[in-house]
């Protein structure tokens, strides 16, 4: 088991290295180059521009820049933001907790909803609940996330005024309940796709295990239905679901960018978007890398959990 873990962790390193090198190459290909931000200023002289380029290390050969950059990343140094004039890591860490809060809440919400809907739907296959749940989940998968968010905002914040329409806290607020109220709509928005997808997943794996011998045996022994569901079926549905959560990290990253845009949520997606409009390359690269790390980590966790939870796989 330990050896397996170590091997997987080591395997992730070249992967991340590949991502880092490719990111760097993309940035170099950009027209105007990384200093385009400064060149746009018609009132800035050639000398000032050169001084800035020198300060940013852009006047050195590209391979040297790449090596320096990779070396810095290994030390956790993502460079200095071109527009915020502070370390990129600092700028990112300022907002990452907010994104993780959003993503985490969304995932928990989605897991609960998926288990609930999935198991209930599986219990009475093709029953009314099953059909309704199926239909709803078809819609959940077909809807653009941001549009769903806009509709929630329109209905619950603008028209009904029940919930705040944007931000993470009120001015002067920021307590638990304040943040919780602000979290409701964005969390639902980011979760909608996975509620739909995961509940189907739970449904089919529940159906599968309901037909397994051990469930039949348990029933035959006179175990009541509730305990069969919770004790045997749910547990077996949970195992593969956990791995799906890990695999779906990219889905949540996309969701975060969109949800944060719609609800002005102060997270990584917003930081990325703002950096994009002013071409703050160090921040863009930092977030790209962090996203890749999250994805690789998600896969790793899925992989490991799959191994840990499924007794049929041994190492």
């Amino acid at each position: 088991m330990t050896r397996f873990l170590i091997r997987r962790l080591l395997g992730a390193i070249p992967l991340l290295l590949g991502v880092a090198v490719l990111s760097f190459v993309f940035m170099q290909l950009a027209p105007g180059g990384p200093d385009a931000l400064f060149a746009r200023n018609a009132r800035m002289s050639e000398e000032q521009l050169q001084a800035i380029r020198h300060n940013m290390g852009l006047d050195r050969p590209v391979p040297e820049q790449l090596v320096t950059w990779l070396g810095n990343i290994l030390q956790g140094d993502l460079g200095i933001s071109y527009t915020q004039y502070r370390p990129v890591s600092e700028a990112i860490w300022d907002v990452v907790p907010n994104t993780l809060l959003l993503m985490g809440t969304g995932m928990v919400l989605s897991l609960i909803a998926a288990l609930l809907f999935g198991v209930l739907a599986a219990r009475r296959q093709n029953g009314v609940f099953d059909l309704v749940a199926s239909f709803v989940s078809y819609f959940g998968l077909a809807m653009p996330v941001f549009w769903f968010g806009l509709m929630l905002q329109l209905l619950f914040a603008v028209r009904l005024g029940w919930l705040p329409s944007a931000g993470m806290s009120s001015a002067g607020g920021g307590g638990f309940w304040d943040v919780a109220r602000h979290l409701v709509l964005p969390a639902f928005t980011i979760a909608i796709g996975s509620i739909a997808g995961w509940s189907r997943y739970v449904r089919s794996s529940t159906i599968e295990s309901l037909n397994q011998d051990y469930v039949r045996t348990a029933r035959a022994k006179g175990m009541d239905e509730q305990r069969v569901l919770v004790g045997h079926v749910l547990r077996n549905a949970l195992i593969p679901l956990v791995t799906v959560v890990g695999i779906d990290v990219p889905l949540y990253l996309t969701g975060a960018v969109l949800t944060e845009t719609v609800f002005s949520w102060p997270g990584m997606g917003r930081l990325f978007f703002d950096a994009l409009t002013v071409r703050d390359y160090p921040i863009l690269m930092g977030i790209l890398l962090l996203g890749a790390v999250l994805i690789v980590l998600g896969n790793l966790i899925a992989d490991v959990l799959y191994g840990v939870l499924d007794p049929r796989i041994s190492y």
Binding site: W147, L154, Y201
Partner: protein, 316 residues
């Protein structure tokens, strides 16, 4: 069993079940019990017809394609017919869905929007299928270091947060319908490649391939005539579902302002333009969103129907 193989062979299953928009959808339709044997095509067609939802989806898609093709004749106004004296007008007989912030007819733009949205959807799906087939076949057929190298490359691409990369691409390079199709396509072929590779691995060991190889059938022909047809079902289903994925992705990028150039009527661009006014003129945001949802829904229904119809093993 090597851990890598675990992940990769598990992937197709995960693809089918996870919440990805591109992913498959499990069956809604009642399971099919065995019937009198007919040709596989007939069986598939019969299964497809069995599914009301799939047929409904096909109908919706057909209507949308017709609307897109005959947009010039169908739309009451031009796609960019600006009328400054009729800005954000309420629905009326002249403008069934009202007008947008430049006085353009919303219904006409929805109809013209179907063109670009469907074009991007189909174009992207074709690109991704093509790349998926090439990479998957090479890796699966030749195996060895070619396989390792290609699969590592797939790993790297999958580890990229696609949304961030696409946004950076388009913000730097600018975008056009063509680049949107290309780049979306280049980021959605990986799952198909893995499926094909996995299937090839098991097919390769089968007798008929061994036999063909021993009589000197060239590699290209072997792949094209003997191996690929066996994964045809997967390719068709993946392509269909990728159309839906691409339409959603295009709308997402356009909504964020980095997709198809602004001004071109696509459903995503219309949503982007409607957002500043959506509290006062919500219809401009509701209409394109609903249209897109129904389009994607219809394609997903068809994709599901195809999956059930073509899967020789049947489904639970």
């Amino acid at each position: 069993m090597s851990a890598n193989v675990t992940l990769e062979t598990a992937a197709p299953g995960k693809l089918a079940e996870s919440g990805n928009a591109a992913s498959g959808l499990t069956a809604l339709t009642p399971s099919l019990t065995s019937r009198a044997p007919r040709s596989p095509g007939q069986i598939a067609a019969a299964r497809f017809r069995k599914s009301t939802l799939a047929l409904f989806g096909l109908l919706v898609i057909t209507l949308m394609c017709l609307a897109a093709i005959f947009a010039d004749a169908l739309a009451p106004y031009g796609e960019n017919e600006i009328d400054l004296f009729n800005i954000t007008a309420q629905p009326s007989t002249a403008h069934l869905l009202g007008t947008d912030e430049l006085g353009r007819d919303e219904l006409s733009r929805l109809i013209f929007g179907a063109r670009v949205s469907l074009l991007v959807g189909v174009g992207t799906a074709l690109v991704s299928t093509l790349v998926g087939i090439i990479v998957g076949s090479f890796a699966g057929y030749y195996g060895g270091w070619i396989d390792s190298a290609l699969m590592r490359f797939v790993d790297v691409i999958l580890a990229f947060p696609a949304i961030f990369l696409l946004l950076i691409f388009f913000s730097i390079q600018g975008s056009s319908v063509l680049t949107v199709i290309l780049f979306l396509g280049l980021f959605s072929w990986m799952w198909l490649a893995r499926v094909i590779r996995g299937e090839f691995f098991s097919l390769k060991e089968r007798d008929f391939i061994e036999a063909a190889r021993s009589i000197g059938v060239p590699d290209g022909r072997l792949i094209w005539r003997h191996l690929l047809p066996n994964v045809g079902a997967a390719i068709i289903v993946s392509t269909t579902l990728n159309i839906a994925y691409a339409m959603l992705a295009e709308a997402t990028l356009s909504f964020l302002g980095f997709g198809v150039p602004a001004g071109t009527p696509t459903w995503g661009n219309m949503l982007n333009a409607a957002r500043p006014n959506f509290t006062t003129v919500p219809l401009l945001a509701i209409a394109p969103g609903l249209t897109l949802t129904f389009a994607v829904l219809a394609i997903n229904f068809v994709g599901d129907g195809l999956r059930d119809a073509l899967d020789p093993r049947g489904r639970a």
